[in-house]
Amino acid sequence: MAADDQSTLPRRKFLGRASALAGLVVSFAPGMRLIDLADAKPDDEAASAEVRWGMLVDATRCVSGCEACVNACATEHGIEMTDRPEIDAQWIRKVDLIDEDSGREISLPVMCQHCEDAPCVAVCPTGASFRREDGIVLVNKHTCIGCRYCMMACPYMARSFIHINLVGQRTHSPRGKGTVESCTFCVHRVDRDREPACVEACTEAGHQALLFGDLSDNEGELAKRLGEVQSQQLRSDLGTNPGVHYHGL
């Protein structure tokens, strides 16, 4: 039955390929837009100044009491709580706001704003706090001496100091006692063309309040959306030019 074999083979092949493609889409879709595959940064290539990573937080879609972004960040980076919240590291936090005049309530996440003119970068005595070419502000923990001056300087209270001995760190997120840290925009994901964990979690939770992307890419979703809706930066009067923008404040 060569003729039968020839007719079923194409279908099997088709099904095989279709399921492979579906698997590909399903596994990549949560963290990647397929159209961006062409722009994937190879592992041996340095971050480039042609890109400026940023985020738009839509406070109108953010739900008070939802901690999906916070929990995702904690899981991704191995951040655990102790019995003393004042010394717990928090790379992202939900802030509940009440307008002092009108009483209107807003909820939104605050994380490192990845400023273009970051005060934390300016004040670090060893240069451990630095801004990567593509706009992500990081702490080089090989050089950090734990002086905490950057924590004094940050207008957004974005940084945390590790007060205890840590074990069980995630491979992609080295963290240790005596150094300072803050949100990295999940740089290990971004370098492999995925979105930060908080953005992914917010999408999965159905709120889609966080949009991450390249601020320099005028054709990209982030830049387009910033051109359409009202948005502002936190404490823009300070001139830090954060990469994170907020809509609905």
């Binding site: 592992d43 990567r132 995630r170």
Partner: protein, 125 residues
């Protein structure tokens, strides 16, 4: 009979030899995999330079090639114990600790870096 001073070099030598035998040469569990990414002699002399350079490149520039990554070392050199749990490479007698204790050089890596392989390797450095 001779002067006791003639015996002095012999006494010194006899003091030194046992001492050198007393210091244990470093031993550690055999790594998995066929061979290391660099020759043993090169690794002994220069592993910290590879690690430091690779670390700086990754942190400062986002270059994430795996050849000299710390996670790469751990991936081959970590072993499991009798309960099938990974043993940290910084634990006594393990890969990193044994030579470093012998040479009395402090390791600065594992206050921050994970010392065992991670379950999912997709997000390795």
């Amino acid at each position: 009979m001779g002067s006791v001073w003639h015996l002095l070099p012999l006494m010194m030598l006899s003091g030194v030899l046992p001492l050198s035998v007393m210091a244990d040469e470093p031993t550690f569990p055999r790594a998995r995999g066929e061979r290391c990414v660099e020759p043993v002699g090169v690794m002994r002399r220069a592993h910290f330079e590879f690690l430091n350079h690779h670390g700086q490149q990754t942190v400062e520039r986002g270059i994430r090639t795996g050849r000299h990554s710390l996670a790469g070392c751990i991936g081959c050199h970590a072993v499991r114990d009798q309960h099938s749990d990974w043993v940290p490479v910084s634990a006594p007698g393990q890969f990193c600790d044994s030579c470093h204790t012998y040479a009395a050089v402090r390791i600065d890596c594992f206050s921050c870096h994970r010392a065992v392989p991670e379950a999912d390797r997709v997000m390795g450095n």
